[in-house]
């Protein structure tokens, strides 16, 4: 029985990191009403940024947060401002513009393949990694230390974003825009500035996820695709737009992925995840904690 408990714990830890990667996706959807297909690519950009910061400076991987968070925030801010805003302006009256999905997919293609062009297809791992393969022994179970830190990072980031949205003036403005952008505009809130900021924060959380991933995960140009599809599943499971739902949805996926192989071929767990996703889409598309939403 112990190994199932061990798998469950490791699944929850890894799952919370999945949740962290999807946090930005759900935040951006909550405000812009757009599924950002490029989110995995943004995570990939964050991973490369963290990888190079560690490799060039020799600093502790987690120290790169100081650099990665602001860089990713600005990246997301200007990506929305330059590439995505024009579409919103063209399709002002549409509540959930499909065209934006297509544009973000274009961004995905460009980012992934530019990275391939510049850095090549190699899998990279950070050398001189103080956290490599580190395990914590706990009552006969082995628990990965970098994943444990990732769990704390996920919970802390989610809590910080939640408090920011609930308690600060800017957070209130973001929530107001998310609820009704016309009414918010009438109150003097600059809609597109809010969009830029929300996109920036979402991208910054992807940066945090990237930093927690690099001590134990390979960096390569298409790494984002793995997290992209997983992210969609997580946010629908947890409820699009819900911060806590993203973390919980991530944990569910993580547990299925780590406990599942005890009972079936490991490749089947992926099928279970897609099945669960379709089931949720058909039965309860608003997810576990989703806000009621007009279909």
């Amino acid at each position: 029985m112990l190994f199932i408990l061990e798998d469950t714990i490791n699944g929850i830890l890894m799952g919370s990191i999945y949740g962290l990667t999807a946090l930005g996706l759900t935040l951006i959807f909550g405000v812009l009403k757009v599924i950002n297909f490029a989110h995995g690519s943004l995570l990939m950009v964050g991973m490369y940024a963290a990888y190079w910061a560690v490799t060039l400076s020799g600093a502790h991987p987690y120290l790169t947060l100081i650099l990665v968070i602001p860089v990713m925030y600005l990246f997301g801010y200007y990506l929305q401002d330059i590439v995505i805003k024009p579409i919103f302006k063209a399709e002002r009256e549409v509540r959930e513009p499909i065209t934006v999905i297509i544009v973000t997919t274009g961004v995905w293609y460009v980012l992934d393949n530019l990275t391939l062009l510049i850095f090549g297809p190699h899998y990279r791992t950070i050398q001189e990694n103080p956290l490599r393969g580190k395990m914590l022994e706990f009552g006969g179970m082995l628990i990965s230390v970098p994943k444990l830190w990732g769990f704390f990072a996920a919970v802390l980031t989610a809590a910080a974003v939640y408090v920011f949205l609930q308690k600060t003036r800017m957070g209130r403005a973001i929530r107001a825009t998310s609820l009704d952008r016309e009414a918010a505009s009438l109150m003097g809130i600059k809609q597109f500035k809010i969009y830029n900021i929300a996109f920036g924060i979402g991208t910054a959380t992807a940066g945090i996820a990237a930093v927690t991933l690099i001590p134990f995960y390979n960096v390569f140009p298409t790494v984002g695709v793995l997290f992209d599809i997983k992210g969609f599943i997580i946010v629908v499971l947890g409820g699009l737009g819900s911060i806590g739902g993203a973390i919980l949805g991530g944990m569910i996926i993580g547990v299925i992925e780590s406990v599942g192989p005890q009972f079936m071929a490991a490749t089947w767990t992926e099928g279970i995840v897609y099945g669960l996703f379709l089931l949720f889409l058909f039965v309860k598309p608003s997810g576990l904690f989703g806000v009621r939403y007009d279909w």
Partner: protein, 332 residues
């Protein structure tokens, strides 16, 4: 000459060129590229029935392509059934699957529909990758299926030269374009258009939007599966990652979108302009600049969506009309 006659003359010229091309172009490499180009034009045109006319964004069409490829291949390899029959059967299975997917998902809007179709396509791939035997049928999991190139001939849809493939896919493409033309001028076409643009308004006028979308989905998945069987017979080797890949689903959708969704020529124009870009950049820069064609793809996609939401066909058809008018008016 009047404008209408000029248009007919132009169409006849295009047909003459495409039918005569293999007589001039003897190189199997170029014929191969052209077959794939027509195949993509066919796929994007079939996709357009749902993605263009019905105004939703399906991103899982590779699943139907895979159903077609696997149905005809399994039947042919194991039981020696002619691929022509497998093709039609695959189409029917895909069509039923399409309706089953459409029933719950057409209620959803925008992003949810796109996500559901992605999950459906990927789920299908995972299933095929994990199943070696489906009852008595051997689908060989992740290793894929090979079609032994014996008994070449029209009855088995298998040829040594590329020319027969060229003419078959060309006829298929012309047929699907004709079908699209007929639909776009039929009651169904108008209903679909209305339902895609303003679902509430269309419903209030008594249009059964969901049923129209389901019909479009059934046709689109049927046609896509036919192409899957054709591809299996053309390449003689299929495996889950090649025929049910997410990349294929995305490529179909994005070529159609760049060309111009909802128009008849748009998807074909998209394939005509983008397939050569990807083929030639892979031939000439594949080793030195990997992924170049996808960077071009992505950039064109972004620019087209921002500046030409109706696709590249918009300025091109306008220019074509202008030339036609100029020619029709010129005194002779």
């Amino acid at each position: 000459m009047t404008g209408k006659n000029l248009e007919k003359a132009f169409l006849a010229l295009v047909l003459m060129v495409v039918f005569g091309l293999p007589l001039i172009l003897r190189s199997p490499t170029y014929l191969h590229i052209l077959v794939l180009l027509y195949l993509y034009a066919y796929l994007t045109t079939s996709w357009n029935l749902v993605g263009g006319f019905a105004g939703v964004l399906p991103l899982g069409h590779a699943a139907f392509f895979g159903i077609g490829a696997y149905t005809s291949t399994v039947l042919y390899v194991q039981y020696g059934v002619s691929p022509w029959f497998g093709m039609v059967l695959g189409g029917v299975i895909a069509s039923i699957t399409g309706i089953m997917i459409g029933l719950p998902t057409f209620k959803m809007r925008g992003a949810y529909f796109a996500l559901a179709t992605i999950a459906f396509g990927e789920g299908m791939r995972v299933m095929v990758e994990n199943i070696d035997h489906l009852g008595p049928l051997n689908i060989n999991g992740p290793r894929g299926l090979q079609i032994p190139p014996l008994n070449v001939g029209l009855a088995n849809l298998m040829f040594i030269n590329k020319e027969p493939y060229y003419y078959i896919i060309l006829v298929m493409l012309i047929a699907v374009l004709a079908l699209t033309y007929v639909i776009s001028r039929s009651r169904l076409g108008y209903y679909l258009n209305a339902g895609g643009e303003e679902p509430e308004a269309a419903m209030s006028l008594g249009v059964n939007v969901a049923r129209c979308k389901l019909m479009a989905m059934a046709m689109s998945s049927f046609l896509t599966a036919l192409a899957g069987s054709f591809y299996a017979q053309f390449s003689l080797f299929i495996h889950p990652k090649s025929v049910i890949s997410l990349d294929l689903s995305f490529e179909i959708a994005f070529i159609a979108l760049i060309g111009g969704r909802g128009s008849i020529v748009g998807p074909v124009l998209g394939a005509l302009l983008l397939r050569p870009v990807s083929d030639f950049s892979r031939i000439y820069f594949g080793a030195t600049l990997p992924g170049l064609h996808l960077i071009i793809f992505g950039t064109v996609l972004i620019l087209v969506m921002i500046y030409l939401p109706r696709g590249l066909q918009q300025p091109l058809t306008r220019a074509y009309q202008r030339i036609l008018n100029r020619l029709a008016q010129s005194p002779r």
